[in-house]
């Protein structure tokens, strides 16, 4: 079992996503939520590194409610998987533990 990393800060003004990506293993998952969802935009900082993680097998999710609230539905990268609150709970139960990057 692996780790679910949650990121809730915008990568444009905060560097927690960088630390998260440095600590994230390929069997882990990343969930963007709250202002973290700005990190799912194709031109957001660290997008290349994020894509490299995806290509190595990391699953990357975003909380759909936060994406929709911010008007980003049409603006996120293709490789991002959207989950609702119920999906968030499932992810939490399917990982050994959760690391919150905030």
């Amino acid at each position: 079992m692996s780790i679910l990393h949650t990121v809730n800060k915008s990568p444009f003004t905060n560097n927690v996503l960088k630390t998260c990506l440095e600590m994230c293993s390929e069997s882990d998952s990343i969930l963007f939520l709250e202002d973290g969802v700005y990190g799912t935009m194709p031109n957001a900082p660290l997008n290349d590194l994020l894509l490299a993680h995806v290509n190595r097998g990391t699953n990357v999710f975003a909380l759909s409610n936060d994406v929709q609230a911010r008007g980003l539905s049409q603006k996120i990268s293709d490789f991002i998987q959207l989950v609702d609150y119920e999906g968030f709970v499932k992810l939490a139960t399917h990982h050994r533990c959760i690391q919150s990057w905030y």
Binding site: S10, D66, A69, R70, G71, S73
Partner: protein
Amino acid sequence: MRKKILLVSRHAPYGTTTAREALDSALAAAVYDQDISLLFIDDGVFQLLKSQSGREIAQKSLDAIISALPYYDIENIYIHTESLAQRHIVAEDIVVANVILLDNTAAAKLFEQQDHILSF
């Protein structure tokens, strides 16, 4: 006495209440007939995106408030062009039509013209 007041809004909507507080302050100051300017810079420009849906997270949509600002006589709405460019936001993405785009030099000039600056 009428003062020139600049509100500088630097934060994304919803994650914190900072963005909402800037708008509420602008509306309150407008009631007192002050000369209000509002500058969106850094992640503050994310407040201007169309198609927001605050009800998804039980909040009021900020784009609705922003598009109503001209009706409260807040017509000096400025946006920092570099902040837009860094986030790949283009004119068609923005919820209000009559905005003024400022580069670094023009933004610095705007700061100089004020009696008071409030930062959010």
